[in-house]
Structure formats: structure tokens, C-alpha cells
Symmetry: C2
């Protein structure tokens, strides 16, 4: 029994990603379109990006190619949390560079952006690439959460690029990383340093998308992984008929993951943060809504069910939101003072400093929540994934049901089991969709580089359709920027795409959820398939199909 | 978008389970073998089962059939926790009965054994069966944890059988349920009531197996589900390089699940309860062993890893075991008194009553653990799955590392994330192996019934080999029985199969684990595949292959 790789991995290494003819033909040219102004704060963005603001959209089309065939030295870096397909994006980039000129080289920076400014890298050879094709994870070169934005970091990038003779850098990351790509592109353009910077849209949350990019990569694999597990648990709930499963799913800022998993599995309840926000729901409203479904089901003799909760829910609750804002401001102002305190005294300090309703709310929280709320990640965000929102809600629902039981309004049995699915979905083998899509993204990035472009994110349209209809190009990062407060500072960011309540995916959910709440309409999507009927192994996710009007 | 079933489910409904020619040919006869004495307590078992003790082993072989072709009315019941393949066992039973005589009927008892003695059932028609072929879950007829053992329950079964004109009952369940099948068979034989009782070996834990039964059904699907998730998490750990994942896996009495998942994914640490027991390890020993691996890895610059923990671990720890025995005895003696107390006073009561080392241990436990330990399930077992052993261990390892850090013995960073995989793996679509195997089990059960047998569990051999070589038959339940204490009473039970430390699966693990601890030898088995290359979608699990000497 010699085990270097699994049987499935051996087969996946041989999978040939599908590409539209535009890319596969090799006869690729860049067609320039119009300039698109940022949706908001255009003046501020123009001021921050004087050298790179105003670039046009571009499309990759079939035709007599005038793209460079000179040997290129290109760097690639993975940034932030892993998403399935990262390795294929690198493979596509590699294959496209080699196809244009076998002398071209690809450099992989190690451990994320830090690998650039600390000059840690490996050359990505054919042998290396071949051993990672169609695999999950970011382990080929690692990843990291460092940013590229300070003067020191930018100069570090320049120094490394100079030493290596880099022509271009491809940054594979989410909204922050693509913004960083724009910052670096601007820095280079201003200094007339000849480094092109291209970004790729990665995030399992599905929130790095817009009119130019149908879907960020990794979303499809993540949602299918979670939907598989949720579908199994739905079937388990209906088999045993004795548990309510409270399942938290990754997705801090947006609820695309929860919505898609709900569309694929049809659970009894799925909370969508964006709706909670739009309707100004409080924590109490959400608890009441879930408890009411439990009561309705109990009346039908069903003391079991499945409830989906997006990871970021608490931040979208009307009362919690104000509280989090107050807390965020306090933590910003008193950051150093709080850090200087021993852990156990921080909670007391914050409780004393927070005034009004937010102070009251903080004092009423369980101690574990009080502590976790004081932690922030390197982007200045609350580490909300540490909050056990699913247990918190299950406990509150149970308490509500006990009250109602005493009042004679509820006669059922309630026993909750909680789950959190997140890490499981980030590093699996990419679905055929994600494998194809990321390979194309990398392949397209190489073409933008060959075309001399910088400060662009690779754009991708028609993804809900068969691969042949996919369209790739580039969107200037600056066209996607807006200004937002981060740690009290106004900064250029790519606005996260949220679930839109008037669009088809949410509308379909809203039209069906009352039935799903009481009847058992559970679906079992099953595990991701890589072989077999195309309608199974090449299927598009529901969000994309509904958005494209294909379902 | 009309969603009754998923695309994969639509395809799985059409899957034709593979059967060995012996069964598929229809020319089936029963070959009687020798009587096998129980491994222990033969005299007691003979005394408890005077009418059914002494039956011979039987084999289903190809040949001129003398099995009954009279129309039969057969009942089937699902018992205990769900396991993938339950629906196929019923489908195999249905098809075999109809093949022998289209007038035969199959009755499905609802909600587990209780459905028999409360006379709740549905007739399983072709239409019903066809809509559940190759699906996961026990939702076709539900399941339950009631036993069939009291006089009232036995008489209830007799009454229902009489009313329905049942010729036979097939009990699909684990060790307890198969024991119950023997009790009912004995009851009927003694009363000369013409109801035959046949059991099928179900349990995802893989502990209902012996020299007659290679593997219980549902194990293969469960371990592949968990191995998929663990493999993804290994890849995530290596990509992000900052977390230790403590993953608890289902398996209370035996560690087959944890061992198999370790063989499929090659994590840094996997604790095997049977080894812990054999070596008389204490909680402190286990914590030290894990912490040592963390230190070793930190010295190589690796502050991440994956640690597998079997659900039942705490019960196998030398110090905890004595404690649990003392606690179990106390709970047995004082059951009614404790139940009469309000919840919050029970802990105090038990703490005061437990003396010596066990009392000390109980008092030192976290409050949450103290409470959970007072809960028992209907089989009188501790509800150990409620204990968050994975968090408990992660906390203890962190504390140990902090001590070592102060002593200068450890310089790494430690950040733990915990998971529990259990419910996810019970109700997925059965693997091709489990789909084929369970269909054959049901098909074989029908032949034992046609042969007039009762008090048998369907036996299955050569399962590691291709389906053509599979051999089915029957083993008298009494031949598998032994006597064990349950709730202070000596009772006949089927001994659970534990991981044997001198057998190939554990030996392979033990020979490799030191390397796996430090080097990153992680494997990504990927999700269960139902199509594609046979080596992927029809693969046998490592436990079976190693036991059969095929790896």
C-alpha cells in the first residue's frame, strides 16, 4: 500500500479543463471597450489612482493576435483564505505563458503577499504544475493575509520584481487583494516601473462579483460541499425525527452561500442576512421567526428540522449592528490600552466604556461571546467566525419555546444539534465548473499580460451557460472601487456583492420558503461528482442559473 | 425550477446494484454447515435460548432450489441510527420476494420496532420501493431505538404478526437489534408461533462484524464521507499553515471509523481507543502525546496539523474508565432518586455520593461535562456523543503547551479549531459498495426466509473482493452471543467488534504514524464518486483491503 495520492487525485491530475474556443484556439486578441466610472466616489478614486484611473474595459476575442510573444517572467501569489481552483488558475496561467513562448517563466511567491516583499519564491516548473492540476487547496505555494499597501510593502515588491526581472504579477484573491493589486499597479505606473499587475476574483463567499464578473471562483465547490452535508443532515433529521439541526455556514459579509445551499437543499428555515438588514430585524425577531416554525411543525407532529444560519448574521441584526458599530469605534480608539490589559480585564473595561443600549446589550451577553467580540483580524474585521452563532441561536430558540410551552402555545419536543461548515468547503477538489473556470481565468490573465495591461481584474461573463459561451476580458480595478470606512479610516475598496432581495435567487427562495418550513421538501444534492452524466458533474449552481434566467 | 429530487438522486434511482451470480441466477439453495458454539458463556446462552440454540451455519449456494415459492407476507423494520443502504436492503428484500412469488407482500413497520408492537405500518409497493432505490437515510419507513425484549413488547409483536398474517420479520439494525431478533425468534419458537425472524448487520461504526460478517453496512459510506471532509481539512491546514484541527469522529465503542479515516487521509495524530485501553493510557498520557507532536512539528516550522479523536475515547482512558464505572453504578442504584431531583441539584448529589479518586475526578471536570455525564440513552449507555471531547482535549493540549512554553520546551504558535463529524455520514447516498452490499443482504434475507429459517443474521464474506466473489448465508444469532452487564444486569449481547491491535489495519497505521506525525503525508480521498473509473467508484475501504491481505 503505497500512498502518495488518492485514486481520485490520480484521475483528477489527468482532467483537461474545458475552455471556450476564444481561448483554446490561440488566436486571441484584445478588444478595447469603454471606460466605466466607479458607481460612487469617482472623484476620490480618481485622486487616489491618478495614473491608472480611466482605463477601458477589455474583451478577449478570437482574431489575428497582436499579443506579445516575447519571453515573460511572471509572478503569481495566492492571497487570503483558500478557495477551490487556485491551483488551476496557476496551471492555466502557466500553460498560456508557455504556449505563447516556451522561454517564459512563472514564479510562485510563497506564503501569500509577504512572499513578494520578503523575496520568498519558487520557480513553477511543468513537473510542479502537473502534480497540482485540478487539486484543491492553496498548498502549492501557500497563502497569507498580508496586504500590499504600505510604502515599505510596495517598495519591497518593487525590489523583488527588479531582482527577478518580473514583467508581471498575478494576484489571486478577494476584494481586498484585488484592491491591493490596483494600489501596486498605481505605484508602478506612477514610478514608471514596468511591472504589470493583474487580479483574479477568488472567494468562496461569492461576494467578489458584479456586472463584469458573474461569480468568484471557489464558491461553486464550497456550496456543493456544504449542500451535500446539509442534504445528508436533512435526510438524517427526517429519518430520526427527533433533532433540530442549527447549521452555520461560512459567509461573513454576504449570504450567497446560505442562499445557494438553501436552494439546493430546501431546509425548513434559512436566514438571509441581507433580508434581516433590509427589514431591520432584531435578534428577538429572528429567534421568534425560528421558534414559530418549530411550533408549526410540532402541530404537524414533526419535532425535527434543519435551520441554516449565515456566519455573519449577528452583524446584520438592527440592535446588534449598532452595538457592533459602537464596539468597533471603542476598540479603534482604545486599541492600545485594551491590548495592554490582561485578557480577563478587557471585558470589564469595554463593558464600563460602552454606554447606552450597546452597553446593556454587551453586559447581557454570555461571557464567551463578550471575549470573542474583542478580537479582530488583520483586516480590522471582527472575527465573527469565532462566534458560535448557531449555539447562541439554538439556546435562545429553546428558551423561547419553553416560555411558550408554559403558556400552552407549544406542545412539542425540542432538541437541538449544532454544526458549522466552513473549512471543509475551501480546499476540496474543485468541481468541474471551478476547475474549468479557474483554468480559464489563469489563461485569460496571461493574455492581459501579453497585451501589456495592468491594474485589471480578469472579467468573466456567461458562466451559467456551457463553457463554449463563456467570455473573458479585463475590468480596471479602479472601475470597481468605492470608498468605505475601515478601522475608522476612509479607504478605497471593492464593494462586496450582497444578496439582492429583488433578484431571482432570493425571489425563488422567498416564494417557496413557507412551504419548505412546514412540508418536508428536503433535497439531497449528494457529493460532488467528477464523472458521469454532464447534468450532474457539470451542473451550474442555482444562484447562477436563476440569475441568468435559465431556471 | 421544479424540485422533487436532485439530478444525482434521479440517476441513483436507476442504478442497478451488482449481485454475485449465486444470488442473481435465481438458482439458490441453502447449504447447511456446522453448529458454532458461542465464544463465551455458551451454557448461559443455551439456557436463555433453549428453542433456538444449536442451529447450524448456512450458506447460500447455486444449485437446484428447494426454497419455498409460496406467497409470503414479510415485515421489515429499521432500528437505531440511520446507515446508508437501509433502503437498498429493503429493495433487495422486496425484489427477491417478488421474484420468488409476485403475490408475496412486504410490510414496512413505521418508526422502528415500536411500529411493530403498536401496529403502525405501510405496505411497501413497487412504486414506493422505486422512489427510494440507492438513496440514503431511513426515511422510507423511519427508525427508532425501542427494543423488542419485554413480555409486553414480544406479545405486541405476536399480536401484530397474527393480524397481518406475517410469515417473517426482517430486523435491520446493530448488535442490540440483532440480539432482539434472537429474543423474538426464541419467543416464537417456544410458543410455536410461526413467525421467522432474520437480522441484517447495520452500523456505521463497523463494530457489528465477526468471522461470519466481514463488515456492517453503512460503514463504508460513513468513513468515505468523513475521510472526504478530513482530507479537505488537511489540505486547508497545509494551505493556511496556522491551525490545529481537532476532529472528533463517530464511534463510541470501537475506533474502526477513526482508524479507517486515518488510513484514508494520513493525519498527524489519530487516537485509537482500543490502543489507549490496551496501554492503560490516562487522559494525561493522551494530552502529552498530542502536545509532543505539536512540539516536534513546531521545530520544523509547522504550526498546523490535524488530529483525529474517536467519539468514545474518554471511556477508554484508564482513569476515566474507573470513574465511568463508578458513576454508572451510582446512576443505576440511585436512578429514581436522581431523576426526581431538579437538574441543577443532580450534579451536587452525584459529586457528594461519588467517593475516592472518581469523586475527585468528577469534581474537577468542567460543569458542562458534569451535567452531560448524568444523561443516559434508552439502552442505558452514557450519551458520550454529547461530550465535546474534541474541545476538551484541545483546551488541555493548549494548557500543556503553555506550560512547556514557559519552560522553554516549546516555541511555536498553537491555535485550535474543533469539528465533530457524525450525522453527516449516516444518511448520504450509499457508496456503490454499500448500495450493492445492502441490496444483496436484503436479497439473501429473503432466501433464508424462503428456507424456513429463523433466529439468523445474514452473513457476508469476501466483501473486499469483487462482487462476483461475495458469499452470503446465515449465522444463528445465538452463535454470536455472549453475556455482558448492562445497567447492572447480566444480559445476552452480541459483543462489539473492536479494533484489534495485532491485525493489519492497525499495524499499517502503527508502522506509519510517526512519519505522518511530522511529515505532511496528507491524502485527499475526495468526495464519494458514483460514476467513472471502477477503482474510484467501486473501491473497497482500507480496513477491508488490509484485513483481506489485498493491500
Amino acid at each position: 500500500m503505497s500512498h502518495h495520492i488518492s485514486s481520485l487525485e490520480a484521475h483528477r491530475l489527468q482532467y483537461k479543463p474545458k475552455m471556450p474556443k476564444t481561448l483554446a484556439s490561440g488566436r486571441i486578441k484584445i478588444e478595447k471597450g469603454s471606460f466605466v466610472e466607479p458607481k460612487a466616489n469617482a472623484a476620490e478614486i480618481k485622486q487616489l489612482f491618478p495614473a491608472t484611473y480611466g482605463y477601458p474595459l477589455v474583451r478577449l476575442v478570437e482574431g489575428e493576435s497582436d499579443l506579445s510573444t516575447a519571453p515573460l517572467c511572471v509572478g503569481v501569489v495566492l492571497s487570503g483564505g483558500p478557495a477551490a481552483g487556485g491551483h488551476n488558475a496557476i496551471a492555466g496561467l502557466f500553460d498560456a505563458l508557455k504556449a505563447a513562448n516556451p522561454q517564459s517563466r512563472l514564479i510562485g511567491f510563497l506564503g501569500g503577499p509577504k512572499g513578494i516583499f520578503t523575496n520568498k519564491w519558487i520557480e513553477l516548473t511543468a513537473e510542479k504544475i502537473d502534480s497540482y492540476r485540478n487539486t484543491g487547496g492553496f498548498d502549492m505555494i501557500g497563502s497569507g493575509r498580508d496586504k500590499i499597501e504600505t510604502k515599505e510593502q510596495l517598495e519591497g515588491c518593487e525590489k523583488t520584481a527588479k531582482e527577478l526581472g518580473l514583467n508581471a504579477l498575478v494576484v489571486i484573491g478577494g476584494d481586498d487583494s484585488n484592491t491591493n493589486a490596483a494600489v501596486l499597479a498605481e505605484y508602478c505606473a506612477t514610478k514608471k516601473f514596468p511591472l504589470q499587475v493583474i487580479g483574479l476574483p477568488k472567494t468562496i463567499d461569492g461576494d467578489m462579483r458584479n456586472e463584469f464578473i458573474d461569480m468568484s471562483f471557489g464558491f461553486d465547490t464550497a456550496v456543493r460541499t456544504y449542500a451535500y452535508l446539509v442534504g445528508n443532515i436533512c435526510r438524517d433529521a427526517r429519518s430520526g425525527r427527533k433533532y433540530y439541526h442549527f447549521i452555520k455556514l461560512m459567509g461573513r459579509s454576504a449570504s450567497h452561500v446560505t442562499l445557494e445551499v438553501a436552494l439546493q437543499t430546501q431546509p425548513n428555515v434559512a436566514i438571509i442576512s441581507e433580508e434581516v438588514k433590509a427589514r431591520k430585524h432584531t435578534l428577538d425577531d429572528v429567534v421568534t421567526a425560528i421558534a414559530q416554525v418549530v411550533v408549526q411543525r410540532a402541530e404537524e407532529g414533526k419535532n425535527y428540522g434543519v435551520i441554516l444560519i449565515p456566519e455573519g448574521l449577528l452583524e446584520f441584526l438592527a440592535d446588534f449592528k449598532v452595538f457592533l458599530k459602537d464596539l468597533g469605534a471603542l476598540l479603534g480608539q482604545e486599541e492600545k490600552q485594551i491590548e495592554a490589559l490582561p485578557k480577563e480585564e478587557r471585558v470589564k473595561f469595554v463593558a464600563a466604556k460602552l454606554s447606552g443600549a450597546s452597553g446593556e446589550l454587551y453586559k447581557k451577553l454570555p461571557a464567551s461571546l463578550q471575549e470573542v467580540l474583542l478580537q479582530r483580524d488583520s483586516h480590522g474585521n471582527l472575527t465573527v467566525s469565532q462566534l458560535e452563532t448557531e449555539k447562541f441561536l439554538a439556546d435562545l430558540v429553546e428558551a423561547r419555546l419553553n416560555e411558550w410551552k408554559e403558556q400552552g402555545r407549544y406542545k412539542g419536543k425540542f432538541s437541538a444539534i449544532t454544526h458549522f461548515f466552513g473549512y471543509e468547503g475551501r480546499c476540496g477538489f474543485p468541481t468541474n465548473f471551478d476547475a474549468d473556470y479557474t483554468y480559464c481565468l489563469g489563461y485569460a490573465a496571461a493574455q492581459l499580460i501579453r497585451g501589456g495591461l495592468s491594474g485589471y481584474t480578469v472579467s468573466a461573463k456567461n458562466l451559467a451557460h456551457p463553457v463554449e459561451k463563456w467570455e473573458f476580458g479585463g475590468v480596471p480595478v479602479t472601475s470597481m472601487l468605492t470608498m468605505e470606512h475601515r478601522k475608522g479610516e476612509l479607504k478605497p475598496v471593492i464593494a462586496k456583492a450582497l444578496v439582492e432581495l429583488d433578484k431571482a435567487p432570493f425571489q425563488y427562495f422567498a416564494a417557496n420558503r413557507e412551504r419548505w418550513a412546514v412540508e418536508d421538501c428536503y433535497l439531497s444534492p449528494g457529493p460532488i461528482q467528477y464523472f458521469g452524466p454532464s447534468e450532474v458533474c457539470d451542473a451550474r449552481n442555482k444562484t447562477m442559473l436563476l440569475e441568468a434566467g435559465l431556471e
